[in-house]
């Protein structure tokens, strides 16, 4: 198993929540102090360097018009990090290509970072959360179609080396594509795609790309991975899906005592609990599709959803752990929690660690990274080499085992 240190590079210094409508899209940027923002960049980059020193890989992402992730151009951050690191793989998860008008430009940026990092790029692509649509002025309808046309074009752009080719698709048009530089890695950098939906995962599996899923918990993750494995097999990629095709992102905090770990984990929950977003930003028309929106309306009845996206405003450490959104505790406890989650979902090869969020300060962040890297990670690497098969005999032994694990997981969140 490979572990990746991830921070959303938040700007956590918010005024009281009753004074603003939303942390995303509409919060005035006069609240942002450039000097404080620069200091935050300095420390977040330093934490990625420390992760590298500890043998952990590096992951970053991109959001727009939000305090939760002040990295609106992740390729720029990657370029900076590429030059102050030398060993770690650098994952962007990812490029929101359904919202970017120029897929060939994205291919160029990624190729450049691959060269700048001497072949350490892992290139991820995401659909983007609903609140990205307004900042990008991106049409919420047919995002999936744009996403896949752009991704196919990007891979072709990386792998075509014989002079210009043309692309006249449904959404993108080019007469002469011929990027310089081409990527360092051949035939192209590893491709990751994140999705939290079963239908999306099936398509990712059919392509054989790495499938990442964020905070989908025990049942959601298993369903996504099942779909991935089905898509993989249906596409004729063979019966066996190596675990290194599957990634899971969770909040993780490890310390030498349970109480210290809890305190750190509680600070990580800022990521969920500060996410005040009104419904009109969180549920733009078209984003969830017609059947999904109808189902949500029926479930909600007449009541409109609250003003906190996804997880409500008062997520507790215990609840987050029960749901499989968070692994937290002493090294033994965290190891057991990850193992339980691994068994339940059928196995995965990448743990994307949100190891910093909100007011988790530098020293505590570094402590968490080091405790994980030194006390938990070596066991995971040994027990779960990337060549293991995910969900291999799911209908048989693993299925029975997983049902047992689910029951157990409800009882003892600390593992």
């Amino acid at each position: 198993m490979r572990a990746w240190h991830f921070t959303e590079t938040a700007y956590p210094y918010l005024p009281p929540p009753e004074t603003y409508e939303s942390v995303r899209v509409s919060l005035p940027n006069r609240i942002y102090d450039p000097a404080k923002g620069a200091a935050l960049y300095d420390r977040y980059i330093r934490e990625w360097q420390i992760a590298e020193e500890e043998g952990v890989e590096i992951m970053m992402n991109e959001h727009h018009q939000t305090v939760t992730c002040v990295d609106p151009a992740a390729p720029l951050m990657m370029a900076a990090v590429a030059r102050v690191t030398s060993k770690a793989r650098i994952l962007i998860l990812g490029n929101p290509i359904a919202n970017r008008r120029q897929p060939v430009r994205v291919a160029e940026e990624m190729a450049m970072i691959d060269i700048l990092s001497h072949g350490r790029l892992e290139a991820g692509f995401v659909r983007g959360v609903p609140y990205e649509l307004l900042p990008a002025n991106s049409n919420p309808v047919r995002m999936n179609e744009r996403h896949w046309e752009a991704l196919d074009l990007i891979v072709k752009t990386w792998t075509h080396h014989d002079g210009p080719f043309s692309h006249e698709g449904r959404f993108f048009h080019y007469r002469a594509v011929n990027i310089w530089p081409r990527p360092w890695q051949q035939p192209h950098p590893p491709v990751w795609v994140s999705t939290t939906s079963a239908s999306g995962a099936r398509n990712v599996g059919a392509h054989g790309f790495v499938q990442a899923t964020f905070l989908t918990g025990y049942e959601g993750t298993r369903s996504v991975y099942d779909s991935y494995r089905r898509g993989w097999r249906e596409a004729g990629r063979g019966q066996d899906v190596p675990i290194d095709r599957l990634a899971y992102a969770a909040l993780v905090y490890v310390s030498d005592s349970e109480q210290k770990a809890y305190d750190g984990a509680d600070k990580l929950l800022w990521y969920l609990n500060a996410n005040k977003v009104p419904r009109h930003f969180a549920a733009p028309p078209g984003y969830a599709g017609v059947p999904g929106t109808v189902a949500a309306l029926k479930a909600a009845g007449q009541t409109t959803q609250g003003d906190h996206a996804n997880f409500g405003r008062n997520m507790k450490v215990e609840t987050a752990m029960e749901r499989g959104l968070m692994f937290c505790g002493t090294p033994d406890q965290v190891h057991a929690q990850i193992k339980k989650f691994y068994d339940h979902v059928g196995g995965f090869g990448h743990l994307l660690i949100m190891g910093q969020a909100g007011f988790l300060e530098h020293d505590d962040t570094v402590h968490g990274i080091r405790m994980f890297a030194r006390e938990v990670y070596p066991r995971l690497k040994e027990e779960y080499p990337g060549t293991l098969i995910s969900g291999g005999d799911w209908e048989g032994r693993a299925g029975v085992q997983a049902r047992g694990v689910a029951a157990e997981a409800r009882g003892t969140p600390l593992g």
Binding site: V25, S26, L134, N137, N139, P140, V141, R142, E145, R170, P278, R279, H280, F281, P284, P285, G286, G289, V290, P291, T293, V294, L297, K298, G301, Q302, T304
Partner: protein, 257 residues
């Protein structure tokens, strides 16, 4: 009201027809036919009213190539051919008004008179201010107050809708968003084409409409050669729902004059 599906331009178009008399092609509003039904019923008392569900609305299909009101205008000109309507009256509300304006710029000779109710479709105001407010960036309560002077009387209780009605409501909203998202609520070309419209044209809006403002409507109407603007009292944006009688009287008075 008769209804059925018509195969046209590579899609299945849901088509309603009611009443008798001189033909009137009616193009429904952004929220769909349900919002306009009371008004259509009144038109049908003296007119043969032909009412398609726009592609992607109601039960009409949505081809993957279609993404603008302009595309729909072409389909509806073909619909007129299919129905043998060499010349007809034309009425449209909000996005239906936009589609009607697009049609009239393409085939001015095919329309006798045109009524546009709270139409969108052009950008005439300053670059740093939306001509039409962003109805997708505000809470539902704000939208309800834009639509109705008395929201409590008109807002749909979604818990009482059948699965099919709920699906149509969601589908209408999704297709509407797709059609108007960018450029916001307008076709930059349309204002340069409106001078082609030959038919006498009536613009109507609710007196308290803050979505389609008085200024916007005046500027829009000035781009059409033979146009005038009228207002309906005691109505916000959804004038067809709040004042169906007054609106029908105004529109029919204009068409029949």
């Amino acid at each position: 009201m008769k209804n059925g599906m018509l195969k046209l331009a590579g899609l299945d178009l849901e088509l309603f027809e009611d009443g008798g008399g001189a033909p009137l092609l009616f193009l429904h509003s952004a929220r769909g036919l349900q919002q306009d039904q009371a008004f259509v019923d009144r038109l049908a008392k003296t007119r043969r009213v032909i009412v398609p569900s726009h592609p992607g609305f109601g039960h009409s299909g949505l081809p993957d190539w279609l993404d603008t009101p302009d595309d729909i205008a072409h389909i509806y000109l073909e619909l007129m051919d299919r129905l043998g309507l060499a010349k007809a009256d034309l009425a449209g509300i909000t996005i239906g008004g936009w589609i009607a304006a697009e049609m009239a710029t393409k085939a001015p000779e095919r329309f006798r008179k045109i009524a546009l109710v709270a139409p969108v479709g052009v950008k005439t105001g300053p670059v740093d201010k939306l001509d039409i407010p962003d109805v997708f960036a505000v809470p539902q309560e704000r939208i309800d107050r834009w639509l109705y002077l008395d929201p409590a009387k008109h807002v749909t209780d979604t818990s009482r809708l059948s699965d099919d009605e709920l699906t149509v409501m969601v589908r209408n909203r999704e297709t509407f968003a797709m059609l108007v998202w960018e450029p916001w609520m307008h076709n930059p070309k349309l204002k340069h084409r409106l001078q082609r419209i030959a038919a006498p044209t009536l613009f109507v809006r609710g007196e308290s409409d803050e979505i389609v403002s008085a200024d916007y409507t005046e500027r829009y109407a000035r781009l059409v050669p033979n146009a005038r603007v009228e207002t309906i009292a005691n109505a916000a944006h959804a004038v067809q729902a709040e004042q169906p009688d007054a609106l029908a009287a105004k529109v029919l008075g204009f068409l029949d004059a």
